[in-house]
């Protein structure tokens, strides 16, 4: 009898875990929410349709763009529980004296916060007045903003992004919103692999380079002035520079020697660039200053050392990929090449990106690699100090090149399904995965720093 009980009790525990606790485990653990600024409690917020402040014929379409963009920005921020438009009160208050906060705080809207305002186009100008109010007992005004810009669809979207970012920054613990950030990536939709750019939500996709050769691994500088990337020329791979300020290629002499230079990475202060170079024979991590001078080699191991990423908080540590023990693994080291630590315990681990607060790495990992054990290539987050990890993607395609957004809440990555590779974004806990590109094949996304 006693042995019977002792045999069953671990199973009892197991099944209890499986049927009661497992659904809770399916959600990301607290350490991810805390470290990624996602938090563990969402604020319930309503974004009212803005009131058209005049009868100008261009107002309705600009207002439609503004309303949709503001709602989408807040919904994708990762910190809000949105009041669905169908639950919102029918009124469209255009100013604080026109809103009855009790309508918004009452069920079914049950909003803790409400964003509202008025929009008009006249004489080629777009004027937007926006407010954010706390619907609590005192009905406090939290934000008031006025925007006066050229009237265009593009500006309607930009103004919505700015107002959304003001709200997100205010309610998200001071972490700046990302609605005006850009994502750079590689696309082969026009033939050769060129560097492309898009808004963070997938809008405005456009080619940056037109070099007609294979270009890979775009990395925008922290001040948004230049993009470092690798491209294949007659003499092999060079780390090259495109100036976003000048709209053309600029020289980066340090990136060409030896025929094989690739996978550049900016330090968070924009002062240094790390990349893999085989100028000494084997691919090693080298560091230069922002102009390509002061070059020095920091790894020295015959096998592949590639894909560096800086700790953007200290700018004195790097994570990188090395094949020194066989299949590629993720390592960290100090910027002088000392203190090398291995983080992954096996499988095939590639493409690290360091989180903005320095706490996490995200990377692509196939934990069960090899013949006879086909695993998936999935995106993971690892807490560097504890080596705890969380798998973010499951059973959907082959996933690679995760890159943190500057808010620490979002990750962009590439996903290949059936020979078609596209850019996706998600929250840092793996939820809310959205496909951003739909045309051709798109690879290696890089989120701008601001």
């Amino acid at each position: 009898m006693k042995s019977g009980i002792s045999r069953i009790s671990p199973r009892f525990a197991f099944f209890l875990l499986l049927f009661c606790v497992a659904p809770a485990f399916a959600q990301a653990p607290d350490w991810v929410h805390t470290g990624s600024n996602l938090g563990n409690a969402r604020i319930r917020i309503a974004a009212a349709d803005f009131k058209p402040a005049n009868a100008d014929p261009s107002t309705p379409s600009l207002k439609a763009t503004f309303d949709a963009t503001l709602y989408a920005d807040l919904a994708s921020a990762g910190i809000f529980d949105m009041v669905s438009k169908s639950l919102a009160p029918p009124a469209t208050p255009g100013a604080p004296q026109e809103i009855r906060l009790s309508d918004w705080s009452a069920a079914p809207a049950s909003a803790q916060m409400v964003a509202f305002g008025a929009l008009s186009a006249s004489g080629g100008r777009l004027v937007v007045n926006g407010w954010l109010f706390d619907t609590g007992a005192t009905g406090t005004q939290v934000i008031a903003r006025q925007y006066n810009e050229q009237a265009s669809q593009e500006m309607a979207r930009t103004v919505a992004h700015r107002f959304a970012d003001a709200i997100i920054t205010q309610l998200g613990g001071g972490v700046s919103g990302i609605a005006e950030t850009k994502i750079y990536f590689v696309s082969s939709r026009s033939g050769s692999k060129e560097i492309w750019a898009m808004d963070y939500d997938g809008q405005n996709q456009r080619a940056v380079t037109h070099l007609g050769v294979i270009s890979l691994s775009p990395r925008v500088s922290p001040d948004n002035s230049r993009i470092a990337f690798a491209s294949l020329g007659k003499d092999g791979w060079a780390v090259r520079m495109f100036s976003l300020d000048l709209g053309r290629m600029v020289s980066f002499p340090g990136g060409t020697a030896g025929g094989n230079n690739f996978s550049p990475a900016w330090s968070g202060d924009g002062a240094k660039l790390a990349f893999s170079s085989a100028r000494s024979g084997a691919p090693e991590i080298w560091v230069s200053d922002a102009t390509g001078g002061g070059l020095h080699q920091i790894t020295s191991f015959r096998k592949a050392d590639v894909s560096p990423t800086w700790n953007p908080r200290t700018n004195s540590q790097l994570a990188f990929v090395s094949g020194r023990t066989g299949l590629p693994q993720i390592y960290t080291m100090d910027q002088d090449g000392s203190n090398v630590q291995r983080l992954t315990d096996g499988g095939y681990a590639i493409s690290p990106s360091w989180s903005p607060n320095g706490q996490f790495l995200t990377f692509s990992w196939n934990r069960k690699y090899g013949p006879g054990a086909p695993g998936g290539q999935d995106i993971y987050v690892m807490d560097i100090a504890s080596k705890r990890w969380l798998q973010l993607t499951h059973d959907s395609g082959s996933n690679d090149f995760p890159f943190w957004a500057p808010d620490g809440r979002h990750i962009v990555f590439e996903r290949a399904i059936g020979g078609k590779t596209e850019i996706w974004s998600m929250l840092a806990d793996g939820t809310e995965q959205h496909q951003l590109t739909h045309s051709g094949n798109n690879f290696m996304p890089n989120w701008s720093w601001k």
């Binding site: 092999g236 094989n260 894909s307």
Partner: protein
């Protein structure tokens, strides 16, 4: 060499799998009473007791291990793995839980067996085993060396470039490694012999990889492969100053199917004349 490692990997997998598949069957009923039934009862209790996720309890049938057929396993070996044209090779294969077994180029075969073959060119013997529990495959590769008399292919009437490609042949690599395989030594010697007898030819060694893994890591791996070929040639007397090395990673695949055969074609050090 590579194929041996690959097949050994499959054997290991098969062993692992066998260990679990048979006892599973024998004790399924026992387990149902000892394991699943109490569990279902406990889940019901837990559900009544306030478990939030009542819908998480599946019907008992879906948790019973007897419901799924074991996945088939398969191994195939070729002995020897490296021959000259005209020599015999013995293929030997074994499967478990398979109902239909076939080998590419041979057709349907028994679930286990031995067969003698006479490949004239390097061949991958790809076995596919299908059973109630799914499908698996295994591959054994036989490398056939060219007849020893052909030291240099006839070059009359060929352009320099054609002669170069006829005589300087690609070096193939195992998965995720830049080590020169034993079976590549003969090709390397031939390549070096031609290059040493044509000292004016400058050339590029391209390092290529299969489609698996990241673009960046494969650029590094391709670099290592091209450098391995370069040092082997330099050791055979070819001047390093004639050689340039470029890694193409997985950016310029020779073929684009997701099969081991195609991947092998892509894992190579390739040569082009430098103009």
């Amino acid at each position: 060499m590579r194929e041996t490692a690959y097949v050994n990997g499959l054997k290991f997998y098969a062993r692992k799998h066998n260990k679990f598949s048979n006892p599973q069957k024998e004790t399924a009923l026992k387990r149902f009473y000892r394991f699943v039934l109490p569990a279902v009862l406990l889940v019901s209790i837990a559900a009544i007791g306030g478990c939030k996720k009542k819908e998480a309890a599946p019907p008992p049938a879906s948790t019973a291990p007897v419901a799924t057929a074991p996945a088939p396993t398969a191994t195939i070996t070729a002995t020897p793995t490296s021959i000259s044209a005209g020599d015999q090779v013995v293929l030997s294969w074994r499967t478990t839980d398979a109902t239909s077994v076939s080998i590419d180029g041979i057709g349907q075969v028994p679930t286990a067996g031995v067969k003698t073959v006479l490949p004239t060119v390097s061949t991958s013997y790809h076995l596919v085993a299908v059973g109630d529990g799914g499908q698996t495959d295994a591959t054994a590769r036989v490398t056939v060396a060219a007849p020893p008399s052909a030291v240099e292919a006839p070059t009359s009437g060929m352009s320099d470039e054609e002669a170069f490609h006829a005589n300087v042949q690609d070096i193939f690599f195992d998965y995720d490694t830049a080590e020169i395989r034993a079976d590549a030594q003969a090709t390397l010697s031939k390549d070096a012999a031609y290059l040493n007898s044509h000292p004016d030819v400058r050339f590029v060694i391209g390092g290529y990889c299969d489609e698996r893994g990241s673009n960046e890591y494969n650029l590094a791996l391709g670099q290592n492969r091209a450098e391995s070929v370069k040092s082997a040639l330099v050791n055979s007397g070819v001047a390093a100053s004639r050689i340039r090395v470029i890694s193409y990673g997985k950016e310029k695949p020779f073929c684009s199917e997701s099969t081991e055969e195609c991947w092998q074609q892509n894992r190579r050090g390739g040569f082009t004349m430098d103009k």
